[in-house]
Structures are given as C-alpha cells and as structure tokens.
C-alpha cells in the first residue's frame, strides 16, 4: 500500500528524472554513473520523506541532493579530478551508441559550461538548460535572488568572452 511519501516521490520521478539525469550527466559526463547518481538522488529523497521530514519544493530538493552526490563522487575520484575528466573529453567506457547519442552540439556546449567559473556554471545551467525561475535557483544554491541574477549576468559575459566566435 503506497503512502503519501511514496506518491510524492513517484510523481517527482516521472516529472524530474530526465532533468536530474541530465544535470548529473553534464557534471560528470559518464552516462551509467549519471544514471546511478540520479537513482540515488530519488532514493535518498524518499528516505528523507519517509523519516517524516517535510519538503516544500521537491524539485529544488532533488537538485540539492544530486549536487551533494556529485560532490561526493568527485571527492572519491582520486585518480581523475573533474578538470582531468574535462581534458579527457567524454567517457570512453560508454557504448558507441551512448556516446553518439550526445550530439556534437551538446558536447560543445558542455565544454563551454565546464570552462566557466564554478559559481557561474550551476546558475547558468539551472536557468538556461532547465529553465528554473530565479527564486528556485536561489533556494537550490542557498543564496539570494540578487546574487543569482548577478551571477547569471556575469556568467553569460564570461561565456561570451571565452567563446567570442560562437554562432547562434
């Protein structure tokens, strides 16, 4: 018999599984690991709800959990830092179909993002990839709306400087 927290979690999965997977994939650029991190994100969220805790904004909570899991994963990667992963390009262990499924354009955009300062990268991603409102981005990163707006502006300016020849 499903409880209220089961209903919340399963609906959130249907609504946000793709977004959370995409967020994980863009950050770590390994499809299978990104799927695992996405699964863990929902499992941890269910555990949190099941323990009687309240979550006002499930989507924001999911992004926060996913971000923490990515950070933990990165710390455990002793042999390769995130920067090293960027230099190596895409994960070679993925099947050819999985790698090719990520278009050339998407690969280039991810490269663009990874060149950004970390404090701009996440807000740029949330706003322009997942179309999150500024208030929700502020909740996810734990900053004010003003800070988010400033970082968005500066992040776009930095992208234009890094890729001056980028065409629309």
């Amino acid at each position: 018999m499903q409880s209220h927290s089961d209903d919340i979690l399963l609906k959130a999965y249907e609504d946000y599984a793709d977004a959370i997977f995409r967020y994980c994939f863009v950050r770590i650029r390994h499809r299978e690991l990104a799927r695992d991190l996405m699964q863990d994100t929902f499992i941890k969220t269910w555990d949190y709800l099941r323990n009687g805790n309240q979550v006002n904004n499930v989507r924001a909570f999911l992004y926060k959990v996913a971000n923490n899991l990515i950070i933990d994963y990165s710390r455990k990667k002793k042999e390769a830092s995130l920067d090293a992963l960027m230099d190596q390009g895409f994960d070679a262990s993925g099947t050819e179909e999985e790698v090719m499924a990520t278009t050339i354009d998407a690969q280039y955009v991810i490269k663009m993002l990874t060149r950004l300062d970390e404090k701009y990268r996440d807000v740029i991603y949330y706003r322009y990839v997942d179309d999150l409102p500024i208030q929700e981005i502020a909740e996810i990163i734990g900053e004010s709306d003003n800070v988010v707006s400033v970082r968005l502006h500066r992040g776009i300016q930095q992208l234009k400087k890094l890729f001056p020849n980028e065409q629309s």
């Binding site: 979690l9 399963l10 793709d18 995409r22 269910w46 955009v109 991603y125 980028e166 629309s168």
Partner: protein
C-alpha cells in the same frame, strides 16, 4: 552573433531513454518495497493480536487463580495453600452466601472441614 543562452538549450536533448527510465523506476520501487514495513498476511495477524493481549492475560491469571483455589480446598494445616483456603476461599464464600439459612449451612460445613483436617493430620501422625 554570440548567443550562448540559445546554445545552452541544446543540452535539453540529453535525457533517459524509455528503458533506462523504466529500469531506474523499478530500482526505486524495489527500494520502497524493501524499506516499507510489512502490512499484510502474517504480520497483520500478529499486529491484530495486541488488542487481545490484556484480556487474554487477565483470563490466564483468572484461570491460574481458580486452579490454585481448587487445589487449596484440600489443604490441611501446614500445607502451602492452607492460608489461601482460610484467608481467601472461605471468606470469599462467606461474602457470597446471602441467606441466613445458607450461612448456617456453610458454618456447619466449615466446622466439618476443620474436623476433617484434624482427622487427616491425626492419620498422618499415626495417632
């Protein structure tokens, strides 16, 4: 024209395929099922018994009490249960004997019991 905002939207094409989404959903459902307390079958039966625990305990105590009182009826001075006979069973019978006639009859029976106890002790002592 330099338009990174537009280019970023190309990442929206990155998503799970149908099999991946179904597989991960099953993983999640298994976790929920594994972590959720059992609410059916044998465990429901066991859980329902808690409503009967106190009445059942009282009945057991009552049965034990009645059993001890039954054993005490044949006790003689010196037996462990003799005090139960004198201090519990017989006073209880005094309390529930309402008519004068029945009280008189019970008094006679009590006297006969005392005599029977003495006779029993005498036999045991070889008197």
């Amino acid at each position: 024209m330099n338009n990174p905002e537009h280019n970023l939207t190309k990442l929206r094409d990155i998503s799970l395929n149908r099999e991946e989404k179904a597989y991960s959903r099953n993983i999640l459902l298994e976790h929920i099922a594994h972590e959720t307390p059992h609410t059916t079958g044998f465990f429901v039966f066991l859980s329902s018994l808690r409503f009967y625990a106190i009445p059942a305990a009282l009945m057991v105590l009552l049965a034990m009490g009645l059993g001890i009182m039954g054993i005490a009826e044949n006790a003689v001075p010196g037996d462990t249960t003799y005090s139960i006979k004198i201090d519990v069973t017989e006073p209880l019978r005094d309390a529930v004997t309402l008519s004068e006639e029945k009280q008189l009859s019970w008094d006679v029976e009590k006297a006969e019991r005392r005599q029977a106890e003495i006779d029993s002790l005498a036999l045991d002592d070889g008197i």
